[in-house]
């Protein structure tokens, strides 16, 4: 590492910090030995993208599912409003954890993102529909 410019060192430290066990887990990119450097960079980009998908996207899906349950349960099962809100919030943390697991289990980062989008569309449209309908009725 001695003799390398500071920026280079910083990058090495940064990347070294967050995925030193890169070699242990071959992925789509790492199987191309001809472009090892760019492959490792793309791999790290993939991990970063998945981390964002898991943390921000997972939270979004969990929040939407909580809101959707809170709105749907009274309409569907006649549950009290406060009970539905409670149920939705209690369930949302499990949804969050499962979303994170999905993101890292998906074969590619693109698949991970698109799965999240699909998982968000269903509760998202329900929330939109029911808040519109509720707002119109009130």
């Amino acid at each position: 590492m001695r003799g390398k410019p500071l920026q280079m060192r910083m990058i090495l430290i940064w990347t070294g910090l967050f995925s030193p066990s890169f070699h242990e887990f071959p992925n789509d990119f790492a199987r191309r030995p001809a472009h090892v450097v760019s492959a490792s960079f793309r791999y790290r980009l993939g991990v970063a993208s998945r981390a964002i998908a898991a943390i921000a996207g997972g939270y979004g899906v969990a929040a939407l599912s909580a809101a959707a349950l809170a709105l749907c349960l009274p309409a569907a099962f006649g549950m009290a409003r406060s009970e539905a809100a409670m149920t939705g919030t209690l369930a949302s943390f499990i949804v969050f954890a499962l979303a994170v697991m999905w993101v890292f289990a998906a074969r590619t980062a693109w698949r991970a993102w698109s799965g999240l989008v699909i998982a968000a569309v269903v509760p998202g449209s329900l929330v939109l529909l029911l808040t519109r309908a509720g707002g119109g009725g009130a």
Binding site: A62, A66, A70, P74, E83, G88, F96
Partner: protein
């Protein structure tokens, strides 16, 4: 992402665990100590050890507390009276001081309260104990951290807890042979042994780990995930309306002072009425909103030891006429009760001494799970540098950082906790802001341990810190004997049992740390004997490390 589902989950388990492991270790350790919050606080107030409060019926204790508060804080906006229990034989009163005049500097939340312990029979304050945060410090530390706004801390801890939940779920998926793993321990086999130790401590108390992590998120769930009430109550009065509906009798915003004086009605009939409404169950906490005001309201909650849920049924009385206003929580609703039970499981207030001890042991298993997981990462990572090390090279920056943080967190924290107890007994009694000074010692020792660990993450350093921690813990009963009226020889025979329990647990924890020191010593000897002559032992040890 990886070859198969289990491989990718193993990856997720490794990284989600590592990145938040150090914070989680502290949260687990401080949270485990919190199971004995009352006992720790009691031990840290030796002035109370020789005083045996006289038992009295609940109504009399309540009357005494009200009389005391009328003298001490007649104009306070709110009084909180906690009647004596088996764990806490004195009546505890807490009151909100009147707000500072407009324009004055805002007062830190904690300093707006004043408190006292009363003898239930006489209503007199028991000997003023020394100023200390006691076990309350560990309780707050495990979700409010310290030296930062509580709201940031709660988000940080919540983030780590969510990672932990993911690590637990993915950890379960990773184990094909979860039952078999539980009965597998292969000692003295390096990485294998660490893996087995991690599996045993994790699987042994797995239901506990999953429960405590999920319920921890549940305790603050409306802060982390406010969207369900917000969406459902958007056109129905907002989240305020939600809380009023979901937690009837729990709100305080609906009470307003009138500004007109009016004498407070006697408390004893209210206590009797509440207790008989709950079929004779004891009363727990009494809250008086705006005492001596025409709008005074007395709220009485049932004692918390009766049921699993943290939500207790409560009753409200008009503070001037003594008439009953309403009863709340007699018929719990399903989802609200589920949340109450989850919350109750987290705080474990229902637990009798044996169950409490089991919770404590499970919490210790949680500490070991996090610690062995962190060490396992370092041991695995080190193997990648085996060749480099043989050629006299150095380990990578990431591994060195993890080594240092592991040392500071795992070996440093017990030492800091013990130092907190030593500071409690050794600091002069008249030090300004004594409670905060004790906490200062905790963080000074922990900071020093972490700095030394990062500078020299060697086996020798592990040994030194573990040994010092062991010594500080084992000697706590000796310290107690010299600085308090209830040494172990007395407390074992004639009480107080909380002091005897604290001393015995301190010895046990100290012996555990001594055992860990001995294990490191054995490892270091082996490392030195394997090294060719001429290499300084310190270097060899650091090469073999952790």
């Amino acid at each position: 992402m990886k070859e198969g589902f289990r491989q990718s989950m193993a990856w997720l388990h490794t990284w989600s665990g590592l990145l938040v492991g150090w914070v989680l270790f502290m949260v687990f350790a401080a949270g485990t100590a919190t199971y004995f919050k009352d006992e720790i606080t009691f031990w840290m107030k030796p002035e109370l050890h020789a005083v045996t409060p006289n038992a009295a019926p609940q109504a009399k204790a309540a009357e005494g507390a009200v009389a005391f508060l009328q003298q001490r804080a007649a104009d306070a906006p709110r009084w909180f009276i906690t009647l004596p229990t088996e764990r806490e034989p004195s009546t505890s009163v807490l009151y909100l001081k009147p707000p500072p005049p407009a324009g004055a500097a805002p007062v830190e939340r904690r300093r707006r309260f004043d408190q006292a312990l009363l003898d239930p029979a006489t209503g007199q304050a028991v000997t003023a104990p020394r100023e200390t945060r006691g076990g309350e410090f560990f309780y707050r530390l495990h979700f409010d951290l310290h030296y930062m706004p509580a709201i940031w801390a709660r988000w940080i801890v919540g983030f780590c807890a969510m990672f932990m939940l993911v690590a637990i779920f993915s950890g379960i998926v990773t184990h094909r042979r979860i039952f078999k793993d539980f009965f597998t321990f292969r000692p003295k086999k390096g990485q294998r042994s660490w893996l087995d130790a991690h599996n045993v401590t994790a699987v042994l108390a797995l239901p506990y780990h999953a429960m405590i992590t999920y319920t921890g998120l549940v305790t603050l769930m409306f802060m982390y995930m406010p969207w369900a009430p917000q969406a459902a109550y958007k056109d129905h009065g907002g989240t305020e309306a939600f809380f009023a509906e979901a937690f009837p009798g729990g709100g305080r915003t609906q009470f307003k002072a009138s500004g007109t004086k009016a004498p407070l009605a006697p408390i004893a009939p209210m206590v009797a009425a509440a207790s008989s409404h709950w079929n004779g169950a004891p009363v727990g906490r009494i809250t008086v909103h705006f005492p001596n005001d025409a709008n005074a309201v007395v709220s009485i909650a049932r004692a918390g030891t009766q049921r699993l849920s943290s939500d207790q049924p409560s009753m409200q009385f008009n503070g001037v006429t003594g008439a009953q206003i309403g009863t709340f929580g007699d018929v719990p609703k399903a989802a609200a009760e589920t949340r109450g039970v989850l919350y109750g499981l987290h705080i474990g207030r229902f637990a009798d001494p044996l169950l409490r001890a089991l919770f404590f042991l499970s919490g210790l298993a949680g500490c070991l799970m996090v610690a062995t997981g962190l060490l396992l990462w370092a041991v695995k990572e080190r193997q990648k540098f085996a060749k480099t090390l043989k050629q006299g090279g150095r380990i990578g920056f990431g591994l060195r950082l993890v080594d240092g943080l592991n040392l500071g967190a795992i070996a440093g924290l017990p030492m800091a906790m013990a130092a907190f107890f030593w500071a409690n007994r050794l600091l002069p009694l008249d030090v300004a802001d004594r409670g905060e000074a004790e906490i200062g010692w905790f963080f000074t020792v922990w900071g020093a341990a972490a700095a030394l660990g990062l500078l020299r993450p060697t086996l020798r350093m592990w040994q030194a810190q573990l040994a010092l921690g062991a010594l500080l813990f084992v000697l706590l009963p000796v310290l107690n004997a010299f600085t308090g009226p209830a040494p172990l020889t007395v407390s074992l025979r004639s009480g107080p049992s909380a002091v005897a329990g604290f001393d015995l647990v301190a010895i046990a924890l100290g012996l555990g740390l001594a055992g860990a020191t001995w294990l490191v010593e054995r490892k270091r000897r082996k490392a030195v004997s394997r090294q060719p002559a001429g290499t300084p032992p310190g270097l060899a040890a650091s090469g073999q490390g952790s």
